[in-house]
Each structure stands twice: as C-alpha cells, then as structure tokens.
C-alpha cells in the first residue's frame, strides 16, 4: 500500500551571500513502501534537499509537506516520525555502540519494554550484537553506517532520510544495507536515499535526479534507463590498444559516451545515430560488437548532453617516456604491523612500465597502507617497496623528482589561489623561469583554469579541485603517477575526463598505480590486485577476475560481483 507521505512544491533554497541557489524549484513526491533515490553528483543539492525535509533548514521559496505538516512549524510532532542519518552518520565516536543507541533511544522517547524489543530487533537486524561494547570510532565504515541507521530507526519513524549512506563503504556492506532498507520499505516505511553513485539509482523504486540544484528527472528509474535502450554496445576481442580504440571511437560524432571495460570498450550512441563501422575504428578483424543493457548512468550523461570526448590535450603536451617494458614498481613481501595488527601482510606485486595497476579493496583492508608504503610515506615493518629500483622511504630526493602524486581528497592549499598552487607545486619540483611559466600556461590552457586563477580552490566544485590536483601532480612530467582514490565523489563526466587524461599519459609511457573502491574504475586498469584483510586475495586483469567467478547463475559477472564473491571465498568460516 503506497501513499504519498511527502510533497515538495517548487522548493528553492538560496543561502545568504551565495550567488546561486543550492536547490532551485524542485517539485517531487515521496511515497511509503518505496526507496526514493535522491541522485546526483557532488554539488547537486542533495544534502540541502534532505536537510529541508528534516526541518533543519527553512526553504527560501516553495513549500514542503511531510506527513501532513510543515517540517519547521510542526517540528515537534514530525521529529517523532522522521528518522534522519546525516552524512557522517551522526555518531559519537567516543561512545560505544550501546551508549550511542541508548542516547538516541532516550532522546526519541523509546523507553522501558519498548526499548528492549527495539534494541534486540535493531541489533539483530544490523548484526551488531557482538560489538555492543565497542566504541563507535573503532567500527569499520560499514558497521558505523549500520549503527547510524539503527539510531535513525529508533522510535519507528514513518519516513527515513539517509544522506549518502553509501560513501566510504565497501560493496559488501553496501549490499547488506540495501537488503536492510528493502526490508524496511516492505514494512511500509518511506526511505529517501541520497547518493552520488548512479548505479544505486537503478535499485530505487523511484528517483529524484538532480544536477547543480535543478531537478533533471523525477520518477521510476527504468523510464530513464529505457530511453537509452538499443544505444549501448560493447566492442570485444579487439586488437591493439583498447585505449587508442576508445579515443578513436569518441572522436566520432555518433558516439556520445564511452568507457573501458576490462579488455573491451563500451560505447553509447547519440539518439538516432547508427553505430560506427568497426573497420573505421581500426579495431582489428576479430573484433565483435555486442549490444548490452543500458544503465542509469548512460541516461544521466545523455541528460547532460554527452561525455567529455576522448582527446587528452594534457597527454599531447607531455613528453614520451622511452624505455623498455620492464618492471618499475615492485613490492616484495611488504608487511606493516601496528602493534599486533598487520595492516598489510606479505604483499607482493610488480608493475611494468606503461601499465595501469589498481589496488582494489574495502575500507580498512590495507590498500591505503600498501599504497603509502610504496610511495615512501610509511616505513614497512618488513619487506621491500621499490620504485625504479629505489626504496623511496630512504631515497635521495632525486628519485622522487620522477614521481607524481595525487592525494586522497585532492589536497591542495586552500588558502592559496589556483595560480599560487600551480606555482608552488611546479617550484617544489624544481621548475623555474621560462620552463615553469610554459608548464603553468599549458595547464591553464588544458584544464581551462583561466577564469579561476585568483580564486582559492576550496570555493570551487570538487570536480575542479580534482583537475587541479591532477595538474599539480603532472606538471613536472613524472615517469610514474601515484593516484589515491582519484575520482571519489566526482560526477561521471569529470570521471571520464580524468580517465581520458590518464589513458593518454599511459600511451606516452607513464606508469600508473591507483587505489579505488569504485568497481567500474577498476575496469580501466591493466591489472588489479584485490586487497582484503591486509593481503592480496586475487590479482590479474579485470576480465580474469570477473571470469574467475563466472557461474551458470551469473555467466557475465560485474566487477562488483567478482569482488563480493572473492571476498566471500576468503572470509574465515567461523566469521
């Protein structure tokens, strides 16, 4: 039985001193018994909209009705009926699981026998029974998220607002969470799930798709996805570089969007366009084209007017890095212990010149630790980490001159302007005088920084910061690039643009080592290593990994399926 529980009528929110509305003229309905996906890239206005519904912000225009009341005027009544989980889960990290639950139970008036049954139900439901005495700060991302959900569910709200519950959570926990939410919805609750992952939209009963504060689409996601039917296909078994193939394909006007998927290339056509001939793409004689199912992401990119194109101006300007295809990065039995706990245990791998190597794994599995040891930020307890034959932790600074590093969350100097950041990072890598000026000018041209040179990066959108971080990492034309979660949180268009640059650089001979928890990003890698519980549990090409878990039930598994299956196989039997 589905009924409308929340109505948004031309809702707008303009923050004081802001030039642009955070949310503009959004109208939508939210129904019980359904998961409503609030979908959009960073800066789309999702959080503002959720806060408006929770009564934490007042709209500057339009009207909201939640459960028959105004979220602000009727706050006292509505707070009992609204469950809200903010982005950082709203947990007190220095309180234990039970203490957090008790606090929120007291605040929401869940007491006595009702509390006991509620705790039992929620702890069973979230599978946190074993951890009731653990401090919330010591929980993994997935467990924190479940606890946050449990706290939001106290008092049996009729509508549950979840702000980006999937961020920083590995695919396994994400799947469990979805299962839990589906259960709740089946009991008649209305759930609003905000997310930047477009693949999650497909799981929702209905979606509210937003971009830059504006509503793009509201309704059943399949309506959106179906628009793309017949426009998506896969080019398989091609010869030569799949990266060059993608570039050639994206040059064609009829191709709207394209990504690399293991050894294959996935293309999306413009509306009404015919597929390009394979011969024209010089894909080799054995190449075949298979139509594939459309995705919500395709529809999103279509709604924005297509992908960013396949040429990397950046790569064109970079020097080629000559040299034989030899091993340039090598980890040998790399181990890092913090006390008794082995964050990385006997990790061994090697990367050849001109390869993209990905470290893939859930949070806390050890991929960051491994990554930091490789670039010399962390000294291994035992084992070796060598880059171009040198141990970076003890190397002369000369060796580090040949590396580029892009940190998690795109750390730039937020108090320096864009130009000052560029000057600083080029200066640190010893560029000076005319050479420095040309490099900066080229970056400004390639990434179109021109209008923003005097602005500080923290006032700019995340996608822009990511471009800045990339520019700062490659200005000195490094041989090797270290990328730590390089696209987390950025929208799909910026992500494609980023990979176009990386692909272009790799074609010039740059070696790339990347960590990611985005499964579709792993598809860009030549080889990936799956890190779990401090060790590598599987390694190979993306296609190999997917193939290794293929079964009769799932003959064509996705990267995410492979991930979940492989982790499951390595889970200790007794849990």
């Amino acid at each position: 039985m589905s009924e409308v529980i929340a109505i948004l009528e031309n809702v707008g929110k303009l923050f004081p001193k802001a030039k642009k509305s955070a949310v503009e003229d959004v109208s939508a309905q939210i129904q019980t018994g359904l998961v409503t996906g609030l979908v959009g890239p960073d800066g789309a206005g999702k959080t503002t909209l959720i806060r408006l519904m929770a009564g934490l912000l007042a709209p500057t225009s339009g009207r909201l009705r939640i459960d028959g009341g105004d979220p602000i005027a009727d706050a006292a009544r509505l707070r009992e009926n609204i469950g809200y989980m903010p982005q950082k889960f709203g947990l007190y990290e220095d309180l234990s699981v039970e203490e957090n639950l008790t606090l929120y139970a007291d605040l929401r008036g869940v007491i006595g026998a009702e509390r006991e049954t509620a705790f039992k139900r929620l702890l069973d439901f979230t599978d946190l029974v074993r951890f009731t005495n653990r401090l919330a700060g010591k929980l993994s991302g997935g467990m924190k998220q479940k606890l946050g959900l449990a706290c939001a569910l106290l008092g049996k709200p009729r509508i549950l607002l979840l702000d980006e519950p999937g961020v920083g959570v590995d695919p396994i926990s994400r799947r469990e969470l979805w299962k839990m939410v589906k259960d709740l919805v089946a009991q008649g609750m209305a759930v609003v799930w905000s997310t930047a992952y477009l693949d999650e939209a497909e799981l929702c009963g209905q979606v509210i798709l937003m971009n830059e504060g504006k509503l793009i689409f509201a309704g059943v996601p399949s309506v959106m996805t179906e628009r793309m039917n017949g426009r998506c296909f896969l080019i398989q078994s091609c010869q030569g570089s799949r990266r060059q193939l993608l570039t050639r394909a994206l040059r064609r006007p009829e191709v709207m969007d394209g990504v690399i998927q293991g050894h294959s290339v996935r293309l999306v056509l413009r509306k009404g366009a015919a597929a390009p001939k394979l011969s024209e793409l010089q894909a080799g004689p054995e190449c075949v084209t298979t139509p594939v199912a459309s995705r919500f992401e395709d529809a999103f990119i279509d709604a924005l007017g297509g992908g960013p194109g396949g040429e990397s101006l950046l790569a064109e300007r970079m020097r080629s890095i000559p040299g034989p295809k030899e091993t340039v990065i090598k980890a040998g039995n790399l181990t890092k212990k913090f006390g008794d706990f082995a964050a990385a245990d006997q990790v061994t791998f090697s990367v050849a010149r001109g390869e993209i190597f990905g470290l893939l794994g859930p949070n806390g599995a050890g991929k960051s630790t491994t990554f930091r040891m490789m670039c010399g930020l962390l000294a291994p307890t035992s084992g070796t980490a060598r880059v171009m034959g040198i141990d970076l932790a003890h190397s002369a600074s000369k060796a580090r001159q040949r590396l580029g590093y892009m940190a998690q969350k795109f750390s730039l100097y937020s108090s320096l302007s864009v130009l000052q950041n560029l000057e600083f990072f080029s200066g640190v890598y010893g560029l000076r005088g005319a050479k420095q000026q040309t490099q900066i000018d080229e970056m400004v041209e390639v990434f179109k920084f021109g209008p923003f040179l005097d602005v500080t990066p923290d006032t700019l959108p995340l996608g822009f910061k990511q471009r800045m971080a990339l520019a700062c990492a490659v200005m000195h034309e490094p041989d090797i690039l270290f990328l730590d979660e390089p696209t987390s949180g950025v929208d799909p268009v910026t992500r494609r643009e980023f990979w176009t640059h990386i692909n272009g650089l790799v074609e010039k001979g740059v070696t790339v080592m990347v960590t990611t928890h985005f499964m579709d990003e792993a598809e860009y890698c030549d080889r990936v290593a799956l890190v779990y519980r401090g060790g590598i549990i599987a390694a190979g090409t993306p296609d190999d990994l997917k193939q290794s878990v293929a079964s009769t039930n799932n003959p064509d598994p996705s990267m995410e399926d492979a991930f979940i299956e492989l982790v499951g196989r390595n889970e200790p039997v007794n849990g």
């Binding site: 912000l57 989980m85 903010p86 990290e93 220095d94 606090l103 929120y104 605040l107």
Partner: protein, 381 residues
Amino acid sequence: MDDSKMNFSGFFRRLVALCRKETRQILRDPSSNLIAFVLPVALLFIYSYGINLDSTSVSIGLVLEDSSREARQFADSFIGSPYMKVVTSLNRAEMEQAIMETTVRGFVVIPEDFARRLQRPTDTAPLLVVTDGTEPNLASFVENYTRGAWQNWLQHRADEHGRKFTTAISLEPRYWFNPSAESRNFIIPGAITVIMTVIGALLTSLVIAREWERGTMEALLATPVTRAELLLSKIIPYYALGIVSLLICVAVAVFALHVPFRGSLWVLLMVSSLFLFSALGFGLLLSTMTRNQFNAAQGALNGAFLPALILSGFIYEIRSMPLIIQAVTYLIPARYFVNAMHTLFMAGNIWSVLLRNMFFLAIASVFFLGLTALKTRRRLE
C-alpha cells in the same frame, strides 16, 4: 494536564541522557582530562614556586674600598641576611661588569674614605648604592634593603659607643589577613581564577563547535531535543567538572601549599558557581557563534584567558592602571572573582565585599548564558 506531565518527564529523560553522554565524552577525552585535572595542579605549583613577589635570594655586590673596622662592621651586618646573596669585591669595575652581565642586581660601595669621613664631626660619610634599574622591583628592594641594613648598623654603632641612637619617628608595617605579607597567599587564589577561566571558557568553547564539526549536532537537531535541553546538557557536566577542579585546587592550595582559607566552603561554592556560569556562558557563546573549534579557542584565549591574567587584579594592581583600562576591567568577570577569592581566602566572609562581587558575577552569567540561548538555533542556518 497529562500532556504537560509527559513533556516534563521527557525533558528530564532527554536531559539526563545528554548529560550522561557529555560526561562520558569528557572522561574519555585525554585533552579534556589534561586541562581539567592535570593542568590546574601543575599550574598551581608553578604559580606557587615560580611566581614569588617576595624577594628571597637576590644577588648583590659589596665593594669594600675601605678596610677599616667600621667598614667591616657594616659589611658584616650586610652579609648576614637570609634575603641576600652577597658577593664581595675590592674594585668597582668588577661589580660594574657584573651588573652589566646581570649576575648581581645591584652593589653597595663603601668608599675608601668612609671611616675617615665618619670620624670627622663636620662631615657625612656617604654609602653609595647602585642598582640595576632594568628590574625596577628588585632595584627598589635592593635600595630598601640597604637602607635597612644601614639603619641597623647605625643603631648598633650607637649602642656600642654608649650613645642613644634612634630614628625619632618610625613606621611600623602591619599586614592584616597576611601578617608576613607572603605573595603566595594572594597569588594562589588568583591562580585558581585563571584555572577556572581555562576550564570554563577554553574547554567549553570547543564543545559545541566540535559537535558541529563532527556532524553530530545535525543528528541531535533531527531528534525531539529542545534548545533548553541542549544548552543545559552542556552547562551541567562542565559546571560539575569546574567545581571538582576547584575543589582539587583548593585542597592543594590549603593542604599542600598551606595557603590560609578563612571563609566558608559554601560561600566559596556559591561565588565560584556564579563565576563558572559566566565563564561557561562565554565559552558556549563563542562555540555557538563560530561553530569552529579553532576560532572559538582563539576567541577564548584573547577574550577570557588574557584578561583574566592581566586585567583581573590577580598580579597587577587594578587601581594603578590608567583610568581607561580600569574602566575595561569592570567588564571582566574574572575581576570580581579574584576580588571575592582574595577576600574569602585571606579575610573570610566579608559580606559587603562578597555580595557586591556576586552581584556583578550574576549579571555577567545572565548576560552570557542568555545571549547563548538567544543565539542557539534549532536549525542549521
């Protein structure tokens, strides 16, 4: 009827839950513990031993250019003092160098014709005192001390010659409440004020800002918590913390440092409560307005700590400050607390003094807490 009763029990339930949470957080945070329990005791000892305005062992030079019996007699009475470390020398140049190097704070010269001029009835034998003026208080001390020693010597000499010598008029100092005029007795109660300021303002300036920064405030605001509950849950635990810390300080002051306490404990608790409320109010106000731990801490440092240190009358005499600065001190709650603490510790329950100070502290508390309540929003804007 029934509804209001429900609200009332809900109020208490939520308040107790929030206070319990806050207390757990305080007890689990090492930096709060450090500031609330370790720093006070450490500071009390530093103040007690490090800040001593009573000169006890000043280095002073004595240049004996004259080696007569008279000169040596003076030297003997000069040297035999527990307050001085006397360095004797035969030439002035050496002492001049010492004063330049700050190894002595001053020197006394007994000129070579001292005894001779002393004998001549028409002459006055001068004793030359040179002090290091860069440390004005020590310079005065050296001067006063030398004058004292000189008086004693004259007296002694007169007795010896069988003559009656007395200064016809003398001033006899008497310090009420603090007979031996120990600076520790007024510095320690003052230091407790500074410590209470650190706990009340600096620590609480961080707490609401921290909830904003960590995103927990957002989650709290989405529950049925009211503004009053939110504020009270911050005030009560930190108030308790402040009082516990106060009692520790007073215990250390009285039992370990032997500072007299002549007032009654319940009056002390009352005065301290009023002061703590004003300090808590100031800290919470900063925290609420900035929503940023760093800025709030900066504000607490410049707005509460520094004034408590220099404008409260704790070390520096307020009455001796220029009028405009004296006017500013009236706006600083610490001023009233210092005054009340000095009275309570040394003089006892002198109500006319205490009530005046409590009145102003109460106004400050109402002002800061009221403003905080006004500035507390149930929304994110």
